[in-house]
């Protein structure tokens, strides 16, 4: 009998082939209980396929998944009891009322009638759906439909919640509500969400998994990822004058500080210089002081580029494309799908 110490989700060496093309190619990851995991990847990277395999809706071609200790392939029913799933595009019946739909879903999820009504009230309140309780789902706006899907996923209070792009089509205010909602689940439910909205993932998720072309290309906490993928902080200077002097100047501040890129001078003779360093702490003041003390350099602007998850995402996915392009195509391996 699986106890509370088993991880919520353990996926090992997942493979899924569609007509000879590998949509998911050897993905392994573990999600601890109460953790919120963000799934990132370009379109066609295998996010939705992985999520479908996790729910047991699609069988994997290889590898295994355990949800709360239950094997998805052999204990399908126990797994389905342990998850709340909101699929891609959030399919909903068109001709039911919101309250009726939630009641029906609650019954399917084996919730006792007595507990169901108060829970529906609670979920409607949480998702700000009280006003539309008696409206027909087919006539609701996208934002409401999306929240009905989220309400449905959390209805039975399952230990694991899997949501495929829950914030798509929501306005900023509603995104905020959903973000709060997910944050409130932290600690007592395990949540996996996929999203294209990177700041969204950065704020809500404890850990991020970036996948591309069916492989995990990076995983870790957002801050950790930023360090490992980009590896450095970036400074951007606008300089005029003798830039040949710069390297020696920089070496005096920090040994890892180096010029990453030098732009062409504009009409006033200023050029953009990008500096990179592996140090995390602020070097801006020292840089300013050193350059101001050098009479042959004129400084117009200095800024520290804050790398976002977006940069990490772009770097990580680009890097894996490079890897795939550079690798001589093994004859036995099918070509990786390019999104």
């Amino acid at each position: 009998m699986p106890d509370a110490s088993t991880p919520a989700i353990e996926a090992s060496h997942l493979v899924k082939h569609y007509a000879g093309v590998a949509a998911v190619n050897d993905i392994s990851f573990t999600v601890a209980r109460g953790e919120i995991l963000g799934f990132l990847g370009p379109n066609g990277a295998g996010k939705s396929t992985t999520m479908r395999i996790l729910t047991g809706y699609l069988p994997a071609s290889g590898g295994s998944v355990r949800i709360c200790g239950h094997n998805v392939a052999t204990e399908g029913e126990a797994v389905r009891r342990a998850i709340g799933y909101m699929p891609e595009n959030n399919p909903l019946p068109e001709d039911m009322r919101v309250g009726e739909y939630l009641y029906f879903r609650g019954r399917l999820k084996e919730m006792p009638r007595r507990k169901l009504s108060p829970r529906i009230d609670e979920v409607l309140e949480l998702c700000d759906l009280k006003r539309v309780r008696h409206r027909i789902i087919g006539k609701l706006s996208k934002g409401f439909r999306q929240r009905v899907g989220i309400a449905e996923a959390i209805l039975a209070e399952p230990p694991v919640i899997i949501m495929d792009e829950p914030t798509i089509g929501l306005d900023p205010h509603q995104i905020l509500i959903v973000r709060d909602l997910i944050a409130r689940l932290r600690g007592h439910m395990t949540v996996i969400i996929s999203s294209h909205i990177l700041p969204e993932i950065e704020v809500t998720c404890d850990r991020v998994l970036i996948i591309n072309a069916g492989r995990v290309v990076a995983q870790g906490a957002p801050a950790e990822l930023r360090r490992t993928i980009l590896g450095q902080s970036l400074y951007e200077l606008e300089l005029a004058g003798d830039t040949d002097r710069l390297p020696t100047l920089l070496a005096g501040i920090d040994s890892t500080l180096a010029i990453a890129e030098t732009g062409a001078p504009d009409s006033h003779g200023f050029r953009t210089v990008r500096l990179s360093t592996s140090r995390d702490d602020e070097l801006g003041e020292q840089l300013l002081r050193a350059i101001a003390a050098e009479p042959r350099l004129r400084l117009r602007a200095i800024s520290r580029a804050h790398s976002t998850l977006e940069d990490v995402f772009l770097a990580a996915t680009r890097r894996s494309w490079d890897v795939i392009d550079e690798a001589p195509a093994a004859p036995s391996e099918p070509p990786a799908p390019q999104p």
């Binding site: 029913e77 879903r105 019954r107």
Partner: protein, 253 residues
């Protein structure tokens, strides 16, 4: 099986609140009433050998061919088209429960629509005042036939609906399969080549599957267990194929 009743209850409820159910019911009764009036007219013109109920049920294929596709084409095709099959099958529900629940709901509606034609006979007995018109045996036999053959017809419809995500395709497939089953087999029995000795067992099998002959037997009050078995096993087979079809679509999607 507890989910079967949840799904059945939900499906029946959805049918009862849907206006299209009532439109279908009214139109069905209009067509059947038209047929019934025609039968009564022929009876008023000249005396007939068989009772009106028998003639009425002999025309069962006309509503079956149109009604069954309309009742069943939506059930699984719509779930697939909207993608709600994905949310449905990720709850602790089995495919069997889903298919049986949908089948049950369509079958109940089918029975209700046919039961409503019973009013015709009530009106006839009330106003004709002649007991000869209302012979209870063929009437009961006819309704029993409708109820039992309905199992197979609805199951064929559910199966067709599991094949496609397009409702129109599902409807046409149902119509074609039912046409082959009801009318096609009748033509098959007339083929001369089957009269030869070698093909005699085949001929026997085709004769056994003659749905019109089953109706005659039922109308005469003969309930043959072989015929019951034909419909029950046919319905089970169609439902098992529907379950496989839904699951195979997931495996190979």
């Amino acid at each position: 099986m507890r989910h079967f009743f949840t799904i059945l209850g939900h499906e029946v409820r959805m049918l009862l609140v849907s206006p299209s159910t009532y439109v279908a019911g009214v139109l069905f009764l209009a067509v059947m009433g038209f047929i019934f009036t025609g039968i009564l007219k022929s009876y008023s013109a000249a005396a007939q050998e068989i009772s009106p109920a028998q003639v009425f049920f002999q025309l069962f294929w006309l509503p079956v061919l149109f009604l069954v596709p309309l009742l069943t084409m939506k059930c699984l095709a719509e779930e697939r088209r909207l993608g709600t099959i994905e949310t449905l099958l990720t709850t602790p529900v089995t495919t069997t429960e889903v298919v049986l629940g949908k089948f049950g709901a369509a079958y109940i509606l089918y029975l209700l629509l046919w039961a409503s034609t019973g009013v015709f006979f009530y009106i006839l007995s009330r106003f004709a005042g002649d007991a000869r018109f209302i012979d209870a045996a063929p009437l009961l036999g006819g309704y029993l036939f409708i109820a039992i053959s309905g199992l197979l017809f609805i199951a064929v419809g559910v199966f067709s609906s599991s094949l496609s995500r397009n409702q129109a395709v599902a409807g046409i497939v149902t119509f074609t399969l039912l046409f082959g089953l009801i009318v096609g087999i009748r033509y098959l029995a007339d083929i001369q080549a089957l009269q030869t000795g070698v093909l005699q067992p085949m001929k026997a099998a085709i004769d056994y599957a003659q749905i019109f002959n089953h109706l005659d037997d039922f109308s005469r009050g003969i309930v043959d267990t072989r015929q019951l078995l034909f419909y029950l096993s046919g319905a089970s087979l169609a439902l098992i194929f529907s379950i496989f079809s839904v699951e195979a679509k997931l495996l190979h999607s």
